[in-house]
């Protein structure tokens, strides 16, 4: 039942926030903050008071909720939480808090509607991370999309409609592919077993012919890689990020992208293990290309949010590489990268928003020399830039290192290509510092340094980033059992192998 | 009673239909367009009736009744629209009221 509450609290909170704003009772931001903190508390409380794990088809689950929904089609309201899901839910709620704090002063009109959308996105995302019925999963997949569309389209910057529609079409079209794949999967499962069901556990062992499995896997893969996003389906991201309000960017980068990676780990690979193994070299290549291509693109940008958006693509390339490397080391690295990227990119976007509020531009050519007037802000941005470029001791390094270590086992050539990303990462990360904080001051009046609210928000994220970088082990053990279903694939490229 | 051959009836109905269609296509005044449509409907009705007579079944007459009701309803709405249009544009020229361009 705890799982249903996790979903319902932001859902109800969203309605309350909207109503509260209409009736001018309380600040909807406060309502939102309280809702998210309550949800966060419940999750943490649940983690410490949880019962013995429940085992379903060989997997350990911390909590499971199974209700009949549309029994005629074998659709159930199935929610379950395991280590991976728990981490993702925690990340979601944490970044939700950050998003609220970062938009505290930015949003001034239709506040209630804005926070309503934020909370409903949260609700949808938590649903995605917990639902284990494919129909329900698809339902939440769409639910998180629509409020996000409004966040970008209503509260965004100058070119918001274009960005919102682009975001919508990309996700919707790829979601359609996933829906088709889900229905086809259920159909073929029905053909072989005579049971109509959308239940994840029952579909796990579906007997499919190799070619059917391959096509269905592609349907899932394209949906998830669009969300991830990986090259060449990434182009909605820079536009969406650039135009979204700060909170939108934070949630988009920190949370929504993770749903794509989560989908790969939870659904695309375990449902079609053989097909995925066969497809792995292609997927890993896409990952490696994403890393390098997006890194180069990031360097070229002059719009700060666009730059950060491309770095997201680059980082998520590591996730793609790790998920398909087919060993646990890389998979752990992939999840660590998801968490780490959630922190760094969210923090950088929050700062891009903070700077934008101060000087009303996102164009880095009009910035420069901010260190003099805002040294603390400079130091914090420097911290997150350095984290983003993979400094050991901070969270991103753990993820990237493990991904590359595992991927090296699977495919040396692609790992070597991906390692070029390590060289390009400082190129794009440090240019941010150079253009904004170093150099001569171009803006006449000094920009104000960080406020207390921003400091608190950033300190929270710094603590998590350092914590994950120095003591990642507890987190990695938490996720361990969730990654069992990623098959250990023994494929190697002979050309890249070094004979002894 | 001398039965009129069904071919003749059908020929007449086709001719009436074509006349009506021609009227719809070439007239510019909406009233005339509506009248031409009436002719087309009646041509079809004639075809139904003659068909019914030929096969000795009531279906044709039934369909004609339907067409008459339809035509009545259409005229009622159509004339109302015509009045509205005339009040708004002070003309009944169909060319000048072509606002619904793509």
């Amino acid at each position: 039942m705890i799982l249903a509450w996790l979903l319902l609290i932001p859902f109800i909170g969203g309605l309350v926030a909207w109503l509260a704003d209409r009736k001018k009772l309380v600040d909807p931001a406060l309502v939102t903050l309280a809702t998210l903190l309550l949800d966060l508390l419940i999750v943490i409380g649940f983690y410490f008071t949880r019962d013995a794990p429940i085992e379903i088809s060989g997997q350990q689950w911390m909590a499971v909720l199974e209700l009949a929904w549309i029994p005629r089609f074998g659709i159930g309201f199935v929610l379950a939480l395991d280590g991976l899901g728990l981490l993702m839910v925690l990340l979601t709620l944490f970044l939700g808090v950050v998003a609220v704090l970062s938009s505290w002063q930015e949003i001034n009109h239709r506040k209630g509607f804005f926070y309503f959308n934020i909370l409903w996105t949260m609700s949808g995302v938590i649903g995605v991370f917990t639902s284990l019925d494919l129909f329900l999963f698809f339902f939440f997949w769409e639910v998180m999309l629509i409020p996000m569309y409004f966040i970008i389209g209503v509260f965004g910057h100058e070119n918001r409609i274009y960005a919102a529609i682009k975001f919508f079409i990309f996700t919707q079209a790829s979601g359609l592919l996933m829906l088709l794949a889900i229905i086809a999967l259920v159909y073929f499962h029905h053909q072989s077993s005579g049971v109509v069901t959308f239940n994840y556990f029952e579909l796990l062992g579906a007997e499919l012919s190799a070619s059917v499995a391959y096509w269905l896997m592609l349907g899932f893969f394209i949906a998830f890689i669009t969300k991830l996003p990986g090259v060449p389906l990434h182009t909605w991201l820079p536009d969406a990020h650039t135009q979204a309000p700060t909170a939108g960017s934070v949630i988009l980068a920190g949370v929504l992208l993770k749903t794509g990676a989560y989908g790969l780990i939870r659904f695309a690979v375990p449902l079609f293990p053989e097909a995925s193994a066969e497809f792995a070299p292609v997927a890993m290549s896409l990952g490696a290309v994403s890393i390098i291509y997006a890194a180069a693109m990031a360097f070229a940008q002059t719009d700060i949010k666009r730059l950060i958006a491309y770095t997201s693509v680059s980082h998520m390339g590591f996730v793609l590489l790790g998920v398909y490397a087919g060993n646990e080391t890389a998979a752990r690295g992939a999840v660590m990268t998801m968490l780490a990227h959630g922190m760094t990119s969210a923090a950088l976007f929050a700062f891009a928003g903070a700077i934008g509020q101060r000087i009303h531009t996102r164009d880095m050519r009009q910035m420069g020399g901010f260190w003099r007037s805002a040294p603390r802000m400079g130091a914090i941005v420097l911290f997150f830039s350095v984290a983003a470029l993979g400094m050991p001791g901070l969270a991103n390094f753990v993820g990237e290192f493990l991904v590359l270590l595992g991927a090296f086992k699977a495919n040396m050539l692609l790992t070597c290509i991906a390692a070029i990303g390590l060289i390009l990462a400082p190129v794009y990360s440090l240019i941010v510092i150079q253009r904004i904080f170093h150099g001569k001051r171009l803006v006449e009046k000094p920009i104000p340094d960080v406020t207390t609210r921003e400091t608190v928000m950033m300190l929270m994220m710094i603590v998590v980033t350092v914590g994950l970088g120095v003591f990642p082990q507890p987190v990695m053990e938490l996720m361990a059992s969730s990654l069992d279903l990623l098959p250990v694939v023994a494929f190697n490229d002979e050309a890249g192998m070094v004979s002894q | 009673m001398i039965a009129i051959p069904v071919e003749h009836c059908l020929l007449l109905s086709v001719m009436l239909f074509c006349l009506g269609l021609l009227g719809v296509l070439v007239r510019r005044n909406i009233i005339f367009v509506l009248m031409s449509m009436e002719i087309m409907l009646n041509a079809i009705g004639l075809a139904f009736v003659s068909g019914g007579a030929r096969w000795g079944q009531a279906d044709g007459q039934v369909m004609f009744l339907l067409v008459i009701t339809l035509a009545a309803a259409e005229v009622a709405i159509g004339l109302a629209l015509v009045l509205q249009l005339y009040q708004r544009y002070r003309t009944l020229d169909i060319e000048t009221i072509s606002k619904m361009k793509g």
Binding site: G369, Q434, H438 | I94, K99, G102
Partner: protein
């Protein structure tokens, strides 16, 4: 005291945190900054004394703190490993580091970024200690990247100037090229040897790999890549001269005494792996010899006092690589230590000079400073003599050990030795060109009569002392490295090696003191001028990289700024709009057209139905 090993890197780290988090006054910042490193140095002294008090085969101490990362068979403990090699490095880092911190209190006195400077410096010391103490390659890599970051931060310390920022980023990115190679080397080692724990790794490598087989060769080559980047050897040396944009104490600490020697340390630390790859060993020696030779010529034509010293550093690092390559491990570490002393001394003295002449760095705008700045002059003189390896100075002992080892190497030893000796001549030449130009001749600059404070003088004096007596120690590294067999050195070799620096000094005396017109005459002719320009640019490496790497990259990103991939989607959107417009054309708004087309359609369809 050994159990307090963890405290040594932690002290400077705490200093860093205090300096970053608290708004300290200048005085407090100096106390925290210098005090934390001083305490670390003191603790290091106690630890080193205790370590060397143990019996020689028990001089190993490992401390495991927590499991950093673990997945499948991969485990990285957060652990420190102390052996004589690490102890020597620790002593150098904290000792020289403390002196330079002390000096910085005077040097940076008027800088508004005083606290920030000490914060970065403390972080650097902490990272460098982690680097040398790391028990496995991952912890080593933590320090490795950490020092790279501090180097970046400190080169770009004066952030107002774009050139400084560029130099800082160049340093970071170029060394990162090496780091990426090193990371790949780590992956390869782990894949085949199932561990990244250095000691275990070396043991496994010895067990499983045969000397000269391809795997150790590739692994060693990849690690070498990392070492080349950090230690500024060809082909990754281009960042170091630009790194002189940072404050002078930084150049002394990071870009001469400690960080740039990390590559030497890495190879020495993994020497067993390199012994399994004789080809790579020879490559190391060759790269070292080439680097020392080439940068010697480059140093000769520079005009910026710090750039001369920078190229000299590259050259001296080349000697260390030469030593590593011929298997003279302790000679390499020995030279690392003496070089840390005398090069830090030279930089600090240069810093004192620069301060006194209003931040002028062009040596030809100085001159005759000998009488005005006696402390700097004598420091420079002693450092210079040690650098050119004049007998009885520390540099003499270490450099000779290296050259003799090179001469005795069976693998093209003569060539390596010859390059080394020519390099020694060049060292004498460029060092005394600098000294003659700056300190002798007539005075042509106004000297800022600032009383150089005690905090500046004391480190100079201590380093002067160390530069002289530093060579008299025998480093207790016998148990870390395999014993190198005594080479029989012929008398001629020995004599030539001894005389080489004096030749350089003598030429410098002739050309740059006695007859200054000579140098101008050489440069006046076209070949001379071209050669000078070529050498001045560092043998064209920067130009080459600019052309083949940077420009294509910049071209690509500039052309592709709007993302070529997106144009496909834009094309799709455009196509949709086109189709939309085409269909829109049929929507004329004229009823007759609609009726006509309906009629036509009916006729066509019915016709098709009838006639098919």
């Amino acid at each position: 005291m050994l159990e307090f090993l963890w405290l040594v890197p932690l002290l400077p780290l705490l200093g860093f945190l205090l300096l970053v988090l608290l708004p300290l006054t200048k005085r407090a910042a100096a106390i925290v900054g210098v005090g934390s490193v001083g305490a670390a140095a003191l603790l290091t002294l106690l630890i080193v004394v205790e370590l060397f008090g143990l019996s020689s085969d028990a001089q190993v101490f490992r401390q495991i703190y927590w499991t950093w990362m673990q997945a499948e068979n991969f485990t990285a403990q957060f652990a420190f490993y102390l052996d004589p090699l690490a102890a020597v490095m620790m002593a150098i880092i904290t000792g020289v580091g403390f002196l330079i911190h002390l000096y910085s209190v005077g040097y940076m006195d008027e800088d508004p970024g005083f606290a920030r400077f000490f914060a970065y410096m403390n972080l650097f010391i902490a990272a460098m200690l982690v680097l040398v103490l790391g028990d496995n390659l991952v912890v080593l890599y933590l320090g490795w990247e950490g020092v790279g970051l501090c180097s970046y931060l400190l080169i770009g310390f004066w952030y107002d100037s774009h050139a400084n920022g560029y130099a800082a980023r160049k340093a970071f990115v170029v060394t990162r090229v090496g780091d990426a190679l090193m990371a790949l080397g780590m992956f390869l080692l782990f894949l085949h040897l199932d561990t990244l724990d250095i000691q275990q790794l070396m043991a496994n490598a010895n067990d499983q790999w045969q000397t000269g087989s391809s795997l150790p060769t590739i692994a060693a080559a990849l690690l070498l890549g990392g070492a080349l980047g950090k230690s500024a050897q060809i082909p990754l040396q281009t960042w170091l001269p630009d790194a002189m944009a940072g404050p002078t104490p930084i150049s002394a600490l990071i870009h001469a005494a400690t960080m740039v020697t990390a590559g030497v340390y890495l190879i020495a630390r993994t020497h067993e792996l390199f012994l399994l790859a004789p080809d790579i060993m020879f490559l190391v020696a060759l790269i070292g010899a080439t680097t020392l030779f080439i940068s010697g010529f480059t140093a000769l034509v520079q005009t910026d006092i710090k750039r001369i010293l920078a190229f000299s550093t590259i050259s001296q690092l080349g000697y260390m690589f030469l030593a590593l390559g011929v298997g003279a491990w302790s000679a390499a570490i020995f030279h690392l230590m003496t070089h840390a002393f005398f090069k830090a001394l030279l930089f600090l003295a240069a810093g004192a000079v620069i301060l006194c002449v209003h931040h002028e760095q062009d040596i030809f705008k100085m001159g005759g400073l000998r009488k005005r700045l006696p402390v700097s002059f004598w420091s420079f003189m002693i450092g210079g003599l040690a650098l050119v390896a004049v007998p009885l100075t520390s540099g003499y002992y270490s450099k000779h050990e290296i050259l003799f080892a090179a001469a005795g190497n069976e693998n093209s030893g003569q060539l390596l030795w010859l390059l080394g000796v020519l390099g020694a001549v060049m060292t004498g030449l460029y060092t005394f060109r600098l000294i003659f130009t700056v300190f002798f001749g007539e005075e042509n600059t106004r000297v800022h009569e600032s009383t150089v404070g005690l905090v500046v003088k004391l480190p100079l004096v201590v380093l002067c002392l160390l530069s002289i007596v530093g060579g008299w120690f025998v480093l207790p590294l016998d148990h870390v490295f395999p014993a190198s067999e005594e080479q029989a050195i012929s008398g001629i070799t020995s004599l030539v090696t001894d005389v080489a620096p004096f030749v350089g000094i003598f030429i410098a005396y002739l050309v740059f003191h006695q007859n200054k017109a000579l140098a101008d005459a050489v440069v006046a002719h076209t070949p001379g001028r071209l050669l000078q320009r070529f050498w001045f640019s560092g043998w064209g490496f920067d130009w080459l990289y600019q052309k083949i790497l940077v420009n294509p990259f910049m071209l690509f990103v500039r052309i592709n700024k709007n993302d070529i991939v997106d144009s496909f989607y834009r094309l799709a959107a455009w196509l949709m709009r086109l189709i939309h417009r085409l269909f829109g054309l049929t929507q004329t708004g004229r009823m007759q057209w609609y009726v006509g087309s309906i009629a036509l359609g009916v006729v066509l369809i019915v016709g098709a139905g009838i006639f098919s």
